[in-house]
């Protein structure tokens, strides 16, 4: 009985410590901010500073925030994308394993392209026409020419 009580208390202490450190880390790292739409959350860790600075001066600064172009429509799809990118971004920044000039992944590039088309559909439908691209190189990508609308780098 005594042993059991001691074990339970010890177990509680250990799990509580883990939960406490976890909770403190979450708060210290401003974890909750990542669940919002606030662009400031994206510059918590300095890596996206150039992108943020570029966006502040860009043509889309008053009509779109990061999430408008970098997450897909639909609540579930949006948070799946956020979770996926959030995990890989934290992983890369924690381990330091990422190139200095970050390049968008093809999946995220697709998300962004679809976001362009979502707002500018009346124009893009006319441009796309019936001919699909055969290779990524031939793909008609809005941001290849309109690179600076969101942020230059």
């Amino acid at each position: 009985m005594n042993l059991r009580a001691t074990s339970a208390v010890a177990l509680g202490l250990v799990i509580g410590a883990a939960a406490g450190v976890g909770a403190y880390t979450f708060i210290y790292a401003q974890g909750a901010s990542y669940l919002t739409n606030d662009p400031n959350a994206c510059v918590n860790c300095h890596v996206m500073r150039e992108q943020y600075d570029g966006w502040v001066k860009s043509s889309h600064r008053s009509v779109a925030v990061c999430n408008d172009c970098h997450t897909p429509p639909g609540r579930v799809a949006k948070y799946v994308t956020k979770a996926q990118n959030g995990f890989w971004h934290s992983f890369a920044f924690t381990t330091g394993r990422f190139p200095d000039e970050i390049l968008i992944t093809s999946r995220n590039h697709g998300v962004t392209e679809r976001a362009c088309r979502k707002c500018h559909e009346s124009i893009t439908l006319e441009i796309d026409g019936p001919h699909a691209a055969k290779t990524p190189r031939d793909e008609l990508a809005c941001v290849r020419c309109h690179r600076s609308v969101g942020h230059l780098h």
Binding site: V14, Y24, T25, E101
Partner: protein, 477 residues
């Protein structure tokens, strides 16, 4: 007995379960703490861009001392010992047996062995004796000290302008006046002047010790750029007062990566830019001065040696025109944790494509590498044709001399050799296989081929030129 055993089992199981849970929770706590500390460190990095642990003054020559305040930059600077090949550049570490005269155990590959035609081009000049591929900044002083060229010519102290950290040495030799110190060290014999310097290029050669601002410390560049700016219509150009920050990111490199010659008996280092920075402007200047580096051993022509004109070539290219400086590609920004610094490991951008190119060119690394190599391959092909043409002209001239051709006839062909050879050497000595300005490099090589073949034609016709005298081509018509 049996009962006891039954009692035992669930207890052991519970104990195991508890132990396992404790272990997992402990491991989770360790992982979370590690993450917490990592986040804390990154936040600290962003807060403290640098710690001032030593006092730097305008006389602190030793880069090791600067490195205490700027460990990341110093770390990169030390890495210039690295030797790696690119397709057309970089350098290869070649082992050698140290001797008393030359204690080096590693050198770069011999360019003379790679391309023996160079010996013909430089016949009668020290470069035909020993010429190796250039290596990183870390080697600049020892490679100059131990090259076999030192054994065949008496070099002046002027050479050190670009092979050592000179700022403090100039100041001491000139009692605080770097121009006076520059003049004093130029006139000394090389091994005499060598006693005044300790390090290869160091922090103080480009940076102000108090503000870390870039600044030019070489009088030869101050004078050269003043002349070059005057051609563009800017009067009394004072580089340290008038250059923009972005210009400075190229000018500090242009202090050394240029075409030059030693003017007069005082061996004053001079950049030949009074007519402009193009190859024909530089040639025109040497014509005005009546200057030749040496008399070609096989042909008797007064010829010139071009020396690494990277600054001049870059000025003719699209990157310079777009406002991209040397540092943007050769010392691109890099991230160290939460910090952003200039990469002081100065090297070929082809070894650092992500940082050097992808800032502006959002294409895969393989694609960019292919673009670089395509451009260089074309230049290299033309360079080889120009080399063959020049060697052919030298051979014809030699034969004509032996056959007792007239002096007037030989002079015509020699003039063509001088023109062709300087143009070819201008691209050959320039460390980018044309990449700094591919079209300009190809234009220069095409002219070199033309002049070499015209020289052969003139000899074949007994001194009668095929066209008018060599004209500075490529200008506006």
């Amino acid at each position: 007995m049996v009962d006891e055993k039954r009692e035992e089992k669930p207890r052991i199981r519970a104990a195991r379960l508890i132990a396992l849970t404790v272990l997992i929770a402990a491991l989770a706590t360790i992982a979370l703490t590690a993450l917490l500390v990592n986040i804390f460190e990154h936040k600290q990095e962003a807060r403290n861009p640098f710690f001032r642990v030593v006092e730097l003054t305008d006389d602190t020559e030793d880069p090791d001392v600067w490195g205490k305040n700027f460990p990341q930059q110093y770390d990169g600077y030390k890495r210039t010992v690295d030797q790696r090949r690119t397709r057309y550049g970089g350098s290869e570490a070649v082992p050698r047996t140290p001797t008393d005269v030359d204690p080096r155990s590693v050198v770069a590959q011999s360019r003379l062995e790679e391309d023996p035609r160079l010996k013909t081009m430089w016949a009668g000049y020290a470069f035909a004796r020993d010429f190796r591929e250039e290596r990183g900044h870390a080697y600049m002083l020892e490679d100059q000290l131990f090259t076999e060229r030192q054994q065949v010519t008496k070099q002046p102290g002027t050479c050190l302008n670009c092979h050592a950290s000179m700022y403090v040495a100039y100041k001491k030799a000139g009692n605080g006046d770097i121009v006076k110190g520059f003049e004093a060290l130029n006139t000394l014999p090389y091994f005499e002047a060598r006693k005044h310097v300790k390090h290869p290029v160091a922090c103080i050669d480009c940076h102000d010790s108090q503000t870390m601002q870039l600044r030019v410390t070489r009088p030869a560049f101050m004078e050269g750029i003043r002349a070059a700016k005057a051609v563009q219509g800017v009067k009394d150009y004072d580089v340290n007062r008038m250059a923009t920050r972005q210009e400075m990111r190229a000018f500090v490199c242009g202090q050394c990566h240029v075409e030059y010659y030693f003017k007069g008996p005082e061996k004053r280092l001079t950049y030949p830019w009074v007519n402009g920075l193009k190859v024909e402007n530089i040639l025109a200047y040497y014509e005005e001065q009546g200057f030749s580096d040496w008399t070609h051993a096989e042909t008797g022509a007064g010829v010139l040696k071009a020396q690494h004109p990277e600054f001049e070539m870059w000025n003719q290219g699209i990157h310079a025109r777009s406002g991209v400086s040397c540092a943007d590609c050769h010392m691109p920004y890099m991230r160290v944790g939460g910090l952003k610094i200039s990469d002081h490991h100065v090297r070929s951008p082809a070894l650092n494509i992500n940082r050097a190119c992808q800032t502006c060119h959002r294409w895969p690394e393989e694609e960019l590498k292919a673009r670089i190599e395509t451009s260089q391959e074309r230049v290299f092909g033309l360079r080889n044709r120009a080399m063959d043409a020049l060697v052919a002209l030298i051979g014809d001239l030699k034969a004509a001399r032996t056959a007792g051709a007239g002096e007037a006839e030989l002079q015509v062909a020699r003039k063509f050799q001088r023109e062709a050879q300087f143009r070819l050497d201008f691209v050959e000595a320039e460390n980018s296989t044309g990449f700094h300005a591919p079209q300009e490099a190809e234009r220069i090589l095409a002219e070199a081929i033309d002049f070499a073949r015209q020289g052969q034609l003139a000899l074949a016709r007994g001194g009668i030129r095929a066209t008018a005298a060599p004209a500075a081509g490529g200008g506006a018509r």
